[in-house]
C-alpha cells in the first residue's frame, strides 16, 4: 500500500467508530445491518473485517451495549445500542469533527 493508501485507510478506520455510533444514535442494530448501512453510505469503505473488531472495541469501552436476540426458527442476532457514555463520546467526537472541518475550510479559503 502506498503512502496515500495507508493514510486514507487510517483515516477511514478512525471514522468508523463515530459512524457506527451515529447509526446507533436512534435505533438498535445488529452487525450485518450495520455493515450494510455503512456500505450503502457509499464513500466509506468498512467491510465486515473492520466493523466487527470496531464493535468489539466500542463494547469493551462501554460506549455501546449488546444483547442477543434469539427467535425460534430465525438467525440469532446480536443487537447493539448506544449507551449514555457513547452519546457523550459521540457529541464530543462530532464537535471535534466540526472544529477540524472549520479549520480545514479556513486554511483552504486562505490560499
Amino acid at each position: 500500500m502506498d503512502g496515500f493508501g495507508s493514510w486514507i485507510a487510517q483515516m477511514r478506520k478512525g471514522i468508523v467508530e463515530v459512524l457506527i455510533l451515529l447509526l446507533l444514535r436512534d435505533e438498535e442494530l445488529y452487525g450485518y445491518l450495520i455493515v450494510q448501512r455503512l456500505k450503502e453510505a457509499g464513500h466509506v469503505v468498512a467491510g465486515e473485517g473492520t466493523v466487527y473488531p470496531v464493535l468489539r472495541r466500542l463494547e469493551a469501552g462501554a460506549l455501546v451495549s449488546a444483547r442477543w436476540s434469539t427467535t425460534e426458527g430465525s438467525n440469532p442476532r446480536k443487537y447493539y445500542a448506544i449507551t449514555g457514555a457513547g452519546r457523550v463520546f459521540l457529541d464530543q467526537a462530532l464537535a471535534e469533527w466540526d472544529a477540524l472541518t472549520r479549520s480545514m475550510e479556513g486554511l483552504r479559503g486562505a490560499h
Partner: protein
C-alpha cells in the same frame, strides 16, 4: 454437508482456534456473531461462490481474530474516558467502597465507649469484625461481577486505595495477558494464575488492614484502664489490669461464682478482691458503692497488709459509669482519681484529697453498734459490720454510704446520707439522715448529726 457450509465451519473453527487465548465465553460470543453475519449474508444465495466472496471480505481468520483482540484492548482505553466514569458513577458503588471504612470508624467509637469491660468488648468486636467481613464479601462479589464484565469503571476505587490496588493489578495483568495472546506468546494461563494470586493477596491484605484497625481500637480501649500503678511488688500492670477487668465483669454481672473466685475472706464484704504475690497482698479492690444514675464507686488499693505496712499503701477511687441493658450491666467508662495515701483501715480517705479529686464523695462509714436499736450520732463511729438499706437504689448493701447531699460547713467537707438501719435479721428498724463531717481536718469523718426520719 455442502461445500459452502463446510467452508464456513472451517473458517469459524480457524477463528476460534486463534481466539483460544481468550476466555471461552468471549471466544464463543465472537464466533457466534460471525456465524450470524455469515448466515445473514448467505441467506439468499447459499452457493459456494457467494460464501467464498463473503469469507474473503471477512479476511484471514488469524488476522480477523487478532484484530478483534487488539480492538478489545483498545476498548478498555475508551472505557477510561473520564466523562464516562463520572457520568455513570453510582452512589451504591461509592457506598460499597467506603463501607469498610465507615464500619471501622464505628468500631473505633464502640471500642472507645465500651473500653475497660472485657466481656462487652469481646462481643462488640465480634459483631464489628463480622460486619466488616460481610461488607467486604458483598463488595468483592459485586466487584468480581464487574471484572467479569470487564467493566473497570469502578468509581469507588477513587475513594478506597485498597480497591485501587486490586483494580490496577487486575487491569495490568489482564492487559499483559491479552497483549501476550495478541503477539502469539500466549502464556495466558500462567498470567491468569498470577492475577488470581495478586487479587487474593490484595484482598487478604485489605482485610488484614481492617483487622489491624479494629485491633488498634482494642488496644486503645484497653490502654484507658491500664494506668501505671507504680510499685506493685513486681506484678505487671498488664496482669493487674486484666485481673481488675475480670473482677469488674463478675461484679457488675452479678456473677456470684465469678466473684467467689476473687473472695478473700472478708465475709461481710460483697465484693473484695486481693491480688497476692507470694504472701504479699499487692492489690485489693473493695467497697462497691452504687450511686445515682447507675454510677458505681470502687476503691482500688495498692499495697497494704504485709506489703509496706500501715500508712504506706495507696488508694484511688474508680468511678464506673454504667448502663443496664436487658439485665446486663455494662461499663461505659472508668474514671480514676490520682493515687492518694491512707492507712490500712482506710481512714482518711474522705479527706480533702478525695473531695477535690472526685466529686463523688463518700466516706468510710460504719454502722451502729446495735443495728436494731435507735441510734445516736455518736454511735456512728468506725466499728464496722452493720448493714443498711441504700435508699438511692432500694437494695441492701453492705457498706451503705452515698452522696445523697453534699454540704460544706465551716470550711470542712461533709455530706448527708439517708440510711435505713437493719436488725440482725435484716428487718428495717428505722430511717436516718446522717451528716458526716471531717471536722478534725479531713482526717477522720464522723457522724456529726443524725436526724431520725421514721
Amino acid at each position: 454437508m455442502s461445500d459452502a457450509k463446510t467452508a464456513t465451519e472451517r473458517y469459524l473453527a480457524q477463528v476460534r482456534k486463534e481466539l483460544s487465548s481468550l476466555p471461552k465465553r468471549d471466544a464463543n460470543d465472537l464466533v457466534a456473531e460471525l456465524r450470524s453475519h455469515l448466515n445473514e449474508s448467505c441467506a439468499e444465495h447459499q452457493d459456494d461462490a457467494v460464501v467464498a466472496e463473503v469469507l474473503a471480505e471477512m479476511g484471514e481468520p488469524r488476522e480477523l481474530a487478532q484484530r478483534m483482540i487488539a480492538e478489545r484492548i483498545a476498548g478498555a482505553g475508551l472505557g477510561r474516558v473520564p466523562l464516562a466514569t463520572r457520568a455513570t458513577a453510582s452512589v451504591v458503588d461509592a457506598l460499597l467502597a467506603v463501607a469498610p471504612l465507615l464500619l471501622a470508624a464505628v468500631a473505633l467509637m464502640i471500642a472507645w465507649r465500651l473500653g475497660g469491660h472485657p466481656s462487652v468488648r469481646r462481643v462488640a468486636f465480634t459483631v464489628v469484625v463480622g460486619l466488616l467481613a460481610a461488607a467486604w464479601l458483598v463488595y468483592l462479589v459485586l466487584y468480581a461481577m464487574r471484572v467479569r464484565r470487564r467493566d473497570f469503571r469502578t468509581p469507588g476505587r477513587v475513594l478506597l486505595g485498597l480497591t485501587t490496588t486490586v483494580d490496577n493489578g487486575h487491569r495490568r495483568v489482564a492487559y499483559a495477558a491479552e497483549v501476550a495472546a495478541l503477539s502469539g506468546q500466549a502464556p495466558v494461563r500462567r498470567r491468569q494464575s498470577l492475577l488470581l494470586v495478586a487479587t487474593l493477596a490484595a484482598v487478604a491484605s485489605s482485610l488484614l488492614a481492617l483487622l489491624l484497625v479494629v485491633g488498634y481500637a482494642g488496644f486503645y480501649a484497653r490502654s484507658s484502664v491500664s494506668e501505671s500503678w507504680g510499685s506493685t511488688g513486681g506484678v505487671s500492670d498488664e496482669r493487674l489490669s486484666g485481673t481488675i477487668d475480670r473482677f469488674y465483669a463478675a461484679l457488675l454481672h452479678r456473677d456470684a461464682p465469678g466473684l467467689a473466685r476473687f473472695a478473700s475472706g472478708t465475709a461481710e464484704s460483697s465484693a473484695t478482691i486481693l491480688v497476692r504475690e507470694a504472701d504479699r497482698v499487692v492489690l485489693s479492690l473493695y467497697m462497691v458503692h452504687w450511686g445515682a444514675n447507675d454510677t458505681a464507686y470502687v476503691w482500688e488499693r495498692v499495697g497494704g497488709e504485709s506489703l509496706q505496712g500501715p500508712g504506706q499503701d495507696r488508694w484511688r477511687l474508680a468511678t464506673l459509669r454504667t448502663k443496664t441493658v436487658a439485665d446486663r450491666v455494662i461499663v461505659l467508662s472508668i474514671v480514676r482519681s490520682p493515687l492518694i495515701s491512707g492507712d490500712q483501715s482506710g481512714q482518711g480517705l474522705s479527706g480533702p484529697d478525695v473531695v477535690s479529686a472526685e466529686q463523688n464523695v463518700f466516706g468510710w462509714i460504719s454502722g451502729p453498734d446495735a443495728g436494731h436499736q435507735p441510734v445516736e450520732a455518736a454511735t456512728f463511729r468506725q466499728s464496722g459490720g452493720q448493714r443498711f438499706i441504700d435508699e438511692n437504689r432500694g437494695k441492701t448493701r453492705e457498706w451503705q454510704d452515698g452522696p445523697v447531699e453534699r454540704v460544706d460547713t465551716s470550711g470542712t467537707h461533709g455530706f448527708w446520707i439517708t440510711v435505713t438501719a437493719l436488725d440482725a435479721n435484716s428487718r428495717p428498724t428505722s430511717r436516718w439522715r446522717l451528716l458526716f463531717e471531717d471536722a478534725a481536718g479531713g482526717q477522720n469523718p464522723v457522724v456529726s448529726r443524725a436526724e431520725r426520719l421514721s
